[in-house]
Structures are given as structure tokens and as C-alpha cells.
Symmetry: C2
Subunit: 425 residues, 2 copies
């Protein structure tokens, strides 16, 4: 109940979502995108990753069940087992389309199209760095190689994407010319890749928006997370008209990885909860992350999006008070949509009497506001020495209630300091 | 050496930094900002956090040594020990200015100014959500309360910041009017806080840019990370003219936390390496993170920015090849600036012959390119069964070299498949 005596929750409040543009944005694909899930390609480039066939199949099935639109696999040209696994996963009959990711070489393309994939993702470095230090080819060579490989893949009747690598350090004019060439060849998608993980959202918005005016095909984006912008960049790309975003579970990939599936979902859910709830089985996220974390021998980070163990823990007193009045005051993600639960922590020195009052009511104890304020001061005093568990707090509340009932409260309150204040923001 | 026979590294290449605007941007503070480090305030709101006095002092000293401009402490009104700790830390004589963070109440302000802090950060919720479900006050009440508290703090001759809470769900006109009022009162900074962790970079840019035109004081920003934009939002805020960014070590705070110090540094270093190297002792970052991780009993996330154990590990063959030619092809952060080292992983099925050749040369073995390609195929074959350690690979290379020297190579190569191809992007 709020201060006006009404029971409200997020759904009752008929105000527009403040995180969406007030007017419709025809360019934006924030509510109309596809995920290209690359745990079994980019994720295999993570330092710890070694997936055997059974684990690949388990992960592919789980991703398909979650609802991703595409699953990308390591190039069948990488090793013999990679090729056999590609064939195996194509045979599973998943709803998700299966892609594989190859260099812009005819040798690789020939192996790829024979595996039964629904599409081939072609990549070549276009930045002056990569052209100089990696393959050493010029833009004419790249355009010719791309044309040959694209026409070959198209002749097999499957999807084809052409992506530059290190796109943000490539010459803009060269890049746009190349994309227009491959668009005219009829590729399904062109790809932009921030291979070094260093683009920022305004840069991404501008490049994608420019590209959107040059090609008519779909636009896929791939963002590394070295400087912490992989989720924000994906969002900015969709705002600018990109259609497909690459993710991996927990973001695993080269170095510290790419846009994590869970964090991306958190971001997109905020923009349009219903759209994401209808497309993806959000409650599966935690199991999916545990599956992959186990497979690559890492812990899910303590601060992981949505599923991190403290993602829905509220601690400071003024937060706790408002959350208890209306969860949407401090929560934009509904924990129950992800099979998670909210936890309001009260056994610490930042606690507030409103949160304690809520617990008193849950325990069916009878204390007035003045008494709750006094027992809150006692909790703070004890928590200044060491954190109090929920059990500690409950015992204290019961003891205090007993003392009030038995008239022995003066003795109990000995040593109270009277502070009753909390932090927030 | 690159294909033109020159030895190059990132410093030799006289091309402009592609991550900075091509023309100077008078609004941007990307190369002129201050950090308000809030591990000892926001960080104390992290579920696991309980810092005793000694630990607070240790963390404050480490932050000061690292070079942050401000250290923010929990309100002295939160508990008696919080107040005593505030006094204690103010007495340390650190280079960093000490702030404390209070509610917009005279009671809190009176306690705060007596602790010896260099400044007081005042916060009040301004969104309709918080006004309705938290404190229940209207905008006139907020402006009056703010005026009283600000004038009181100013009368003590110390810095004062006034911040709204949940700024992105506050009415824009109300918010700007309030900020203009407090700016005229002479606050040092106004603050914008994305308390629910849900703003996106383009939104941040627009709000900060608008505010920049309304107030003449400094602008501080505070971003929660629930939907993965806390670093990108901080960057967008600086681009739009914000001057101060709140961080905490590893991002610890309410729920999954705020802009992490390390990730923020990664982002800013990319925009201006020299500026950040001159301000902060970057090589201290790892120890600082370990100190805080230990204090709150968490593991540093496997994919942590800069210091995560795989942040500088390169795996896919085409990445490894280019990195060995010139690290800046796939690395925008120089590991040595942070006391870290690069690792090129070669014992896996995505390996490439260029990376293997580099290792052959490190071991002073004598193999020609054709031989390196053949032994690379052998590594892939073995790594299809299980990952190969560096020791495994080294042994294999030595055995192969011995077989070549002794003319017994045919037997050694039995079972080779001839695949020699890798992934990337």
C-alpha cells in the first residue's frame, strides 16, 4: 500500500515506458530482432572451452529450447571433429537455423556447404591493421574473393552473410563500397564486427545508421567486450536499424568475450518485456548459464545479469522501503519472469525501520512504529560489530516482542544509540 | 615484422586514434574527468559487504594510491560505527577528497559536516515512482528541503553536490527546474543517477547534454548495471559534458552494482591512453580488485575487464597470427600498462600454423613452413580428442623436430588429416 492508501504495482500504472522513445522510431529494431547465438563458435574461442560432441549437442538443444533464432558453429575446416560435429548438429532437426562461420576462402566454403547448415557466415579482415598484419590483401582482392565465395554459397540455396572484421578501424568509404557490392550479389546479411572490443555506442549508432542507408539486406552485429560496451553497443546497433545480434552464453569468447546472452536479454526486456517474454523461455536462462559455466569450468560471475546471486538483493534502507511499497521503484526486471526471487536484506547497519516493520508483520509480531524504530536501532548497533543473518534478526525481533509484552523492554533496549538512518541511490 | 619487412608496433603508426572524434568536440570531457570512488558507500550496499574500520582504511589508502580524485563514504547517520569511521578516514590526510553521501535531511547534514569531510553528497528521489512510494513528497517540498540543506552545508565551507535519484524516470521539466534552482544556490555539482540501472547511452547523452545547457556547475553521474550499460553510459555522459563519474571496485553495490572502476578505466584508456596513464597507477588495479574481492568474499569474475585471467588470451589461429605480427591488431589495451601479460594459446583445434611457427622459433627448433603446417595438423588432431597444454605442444614440437632430423618423419605423421584452418572475428 502506498501513501495514498492504494495497492499498486507496475502493471497498474498507466504511464508510458520511460525507456522507449516517446514517438515511434521507424529505424529502430529494438522490438524486432534475431539472436545469432555463438557459444558453439565464438564461445569455443574462449581460453577454457573444449566442447566434445555430446556437450555441443546438449548446448545446441538448450539454446534451441530457449528460443534463439540462429545457432552458429565453429568452422568445419578448423578440424575433422569440428566438421563431424557440424554435420551431427544439423541432423538434430532444431527449430533454430544452423550457421557455420568461415574465412572468405573457397576451400572453407566447399567444406561448409556439405555439412547441411542453413547458412554460412563469411568473414574477412578489412581494417588497415588486419590487411597489413593478418592476410595482407587489398580491398580489390577482398571484393573479388567475396564475390566468388558468396556466389558459390548462394548457388547451394542456403543463407549467406558477409562480414568485415575489425570494422570500426576500417576505412569507411572502402567498407561501404564493399558492403554495397555484396548486397547487390544478394547476401542475406552483412556483418559489422568490433573485433577488438573498443567501439562505443554513439560510434556504433552512426556506422549502422549509415550502412542502413546503403544496403537493403539485413545487418548483423558482433561486439567484443574488452571495454565494457558489448551490451550497450548491441542496443545502439538495433536502435540504428541492425537486425541480428551475436551473443554467447555468459559472453564467452576470445579474450574476455562478447555480448552475453543474459545481459543482452536484460537490456532488451527492459525495452519491451512482452516481446522478449513471447520469444524466449526466460526462466531457462539460469540453467543454460550453469550448463555452459560447468562445461568451461568457470563460476557464474557474482554480479552476473539477472542470475547473479545478488541481482535482486536490496539492502539500503530507503531502497528496501520503496521496494516493499512497489517493486518497480528500484527494479526494472521482474525476478519472477526469470524464475528468480527478490530478497530484502535487513540485518546490516544500512537497514531502515520500514524494512524491519515489514519483517515484523511477516512474523505476525505486534509492534508499533516507535517500537520498530527502537529495535531497528538495536539491529544497527549489533550489525556495526558483525553482519546479522536473517535468523539473528528474527530472533532479535521475537525477543524484543517478548520483552515488550512482558514489560521488560527498558532492560532490553540498554545501549541503544538512537541512530535511524540509511543510505541509497 | 609485417609483410613489408618493417618492424612496427602501435606507437609507430601515425594514424589518428579511430576511437576519438576526428574533430575536437568542445562538449566532451572524455579526456578531462574525475572519479568519485564509491566502494566505501555504494559498495557497502553490496549484499556481501561488511567492512570493519581497518578494512575501510586499507581500501581508502589503496584507492588514494591508485589516484582516484574522490572517495565517497557511507552516511555517518547510518550507524554509530559509520560515523566514527568517517571521522577516522578524514584524519588520514589522503590526497583524494573525502565525501559522504546523505539523504536530503538537516539531521543527516548536521552529523555529516562534523566528521571533517571535504564535501557532502545530497540525494533525494525525484521520480514519480519514488515520490509516490518512497518519501511521498512533491517537487516544491524537495526544492525547499534542498535549499535549506545546501545552504547549511555551504555555510561550513565544504563542497556540496545535489543529486536526484532515479533521474531517468523523473519529469524532465521538474528535474531541470530543480537543477537550475540548486545551481543558483551555488552547489559544486549536480548529480544524475540511474538508480534502477536501466538507462541507455543515447538517452544519457541527451539528458546530460540538455542539463549541460541549463547549469553552470559540474555534473556527476551514477549508473547501475542491471542491464549492462553502466560503463557505456558513463562514457556517453562524459561525451555530453558530464565531469564526474561514480565507480566502485568490481562494480559492487546494490543488486548487481554500478560502473566498475576497472571496466571504466579500460573504456577511458582506449579514448586517451596517456591521460589515464598519467592520472592513475594502472598497474595497481589488480591488487585493488583482489583486496576488495577478498573483503567481500567473491571471486574476481572470469571475464573481468583487464585483470580477468583470459583478458589477454588469444586463441583462434587468425587472431594469434596477427597478434604475433602486431599486438594492436586484436588488442586495444596494452597488457604491460596494467602489469599483465599476453598469452597466445596454441594447443587446441582452432590453432593456426603461424602461431605454431612462432612457438617453434621460441624453442629454437628448425622447421620449414611446410613442416610447421604438418605438425599443426597433428596438434589439431590431438586437440580434437582433448585440449593440449603448452607442455604437450612443446613436447610434440620437439619430437617432430627430432623425427625430421632423424629422417623418421613419415612414421610420425601417420594419421594426419591435412586440415589447417581456423576461426576468428
Amino acid at each position: 500500500m502506498n501513501s495514498n492508501g492504494r495497492n499498486l504495482n507496475i502493471d497498474d500504472i498507466s504511464r508510458p515506458n520511460p525507456y522507449l522513445p516517446r514517438f515511434s522510431d521507424l529505424l529502430s529494431r529494438v522490438s524486432n530482432f534475431s539472436i545469432i547465438e555463438s557459444t558453439l563458435r565464438e564461445g569455443e574461442q574462449f581460453a577454457n572451452a573444449f566442447f566434445d560432441t555430446a556437450k555441443k549437442i546438449e548446448i545446441a538443444k538448450a539454446l534451441d529450447d530457449f528460443g534463439v533464432e540462429y545457432i552458429e558453429l565453429t568452422s568445419p575446416a578448423a578440424s575433422e571433429q569440428s566438421r563431424l560435429d557440424c554435420i551431427e548438429i544439423c541432423k538434430l532437426g532444431l527449430k533454430a537455423k544452423i550457421l557455420t562461420h568461415i574465412r572468405c576462402h573457397m576451400d572453407d566454403a566447399k567444406i561448409a556447404v556439405e555439412t547441411g547448415v542453413d547458412g554460412v557466415d563469411i568473414v574477412i579482415g578489412t581494417s588497415s591493421y588486419l590487411r597489413e598484419f593478418s592476410h595482407g590483401k587489398d580491398m580489390d582482392y577482398i571484393a573479388n574473393a567475396a564475390t566468388k565465395v558468396i556466389n558459390f554459397v548462394k548457388s547451394k540455396g542456403i543463407e549467406v552473410r558477409f562480414s568485415s572484421e575489425d570494422s570500426f578501424r576500417s576505412d569507411l568509404v572502402d567498407l561501404l563500397a564493399l558492403y554495397r557490392t555484396v548486397d547487390k550479389l544478394g547476401v542475406n546479411r552483412v556483418g559489422i564486427a568490433d573485433t577488438v572490443g573498443c567501439a562505443n555506442p554513439r560510434q556504433v549508432y552512426e556506422l549502422v545508421r549509415t550502412l542502413r542507408g546503403v544496403v537493403s539486406c539485413d545487418i548483423e552485429c558482433h561486439f567484443h567486450n574488452d571495454t565494457g560496451c558489448a551490451i550497450a553497443n548491441a542496443y545502439a546497433a538495433l536502435e540504428a536499424g541492425a537486425t541480428h545480434i551475436d551473443t554467447s552464453v555468459l559472453g564467452i569468447g576470445e579474450r574476455n568475450g562478447i555480448t552475453p546472452l543474459g545481459g543482452f536479454i536484460a537490456r532488451m526486456y527492459t525495452a519491451n518485456r512482452d516481446y522478449n517474454k513471447s520469444k524466449y523461455k526466460l526462466h531457462m536462462l539460469r540453467d543454460l548459464e550453469n550448463l555452459v559455466a560447468d562445461a568451461v569450468s568457470v563460476q557464474v560471475p557474482f554480479n552476473n545479469y539477472i542470475t547473479g546471486y545478488c541481482a535482486f538483493t536490496h539492502k539500503a534502507g530507503i531502497h528496501a522501503k520503496a521496494i516493499l511499497n512497489n517493486p518497480s521503484t528500484y527494479e526494472i526486471l521482474k525476478p519472477e519472469d526469470f524464475g528468480m526471487t527478490r530478497y530484502v536484506s535487513i540485518g546490516h547497519r544500512l537497514t531502515g525501520w520500514n524494512a524491519v516493520k515489514n519483517r515484523v508483520e511477516q512474523l505476525s509480531l505486534c509492534l508499533n512504529d516507535e517500537q520498530v524504530k527502537r529495535v531497528t536501532a538495536k539491529i544497527k548497533e549489533l550489525a556495526d560489530i558483525r553482519p546479522q543473518s536473517m535468523e539473528d534478526v528474527d530472533n532479535l525481533l521475537r525477543e524484543y516482542h517478548y520483552a515488550v509484552e512482558s514489560g521488560d523492554v527498558i532492560k532490553f533496549e540498554n545501549g541503544l544509540t538512537g541512530t535511524n538512518c540509511v543510505n541509497g541511490s
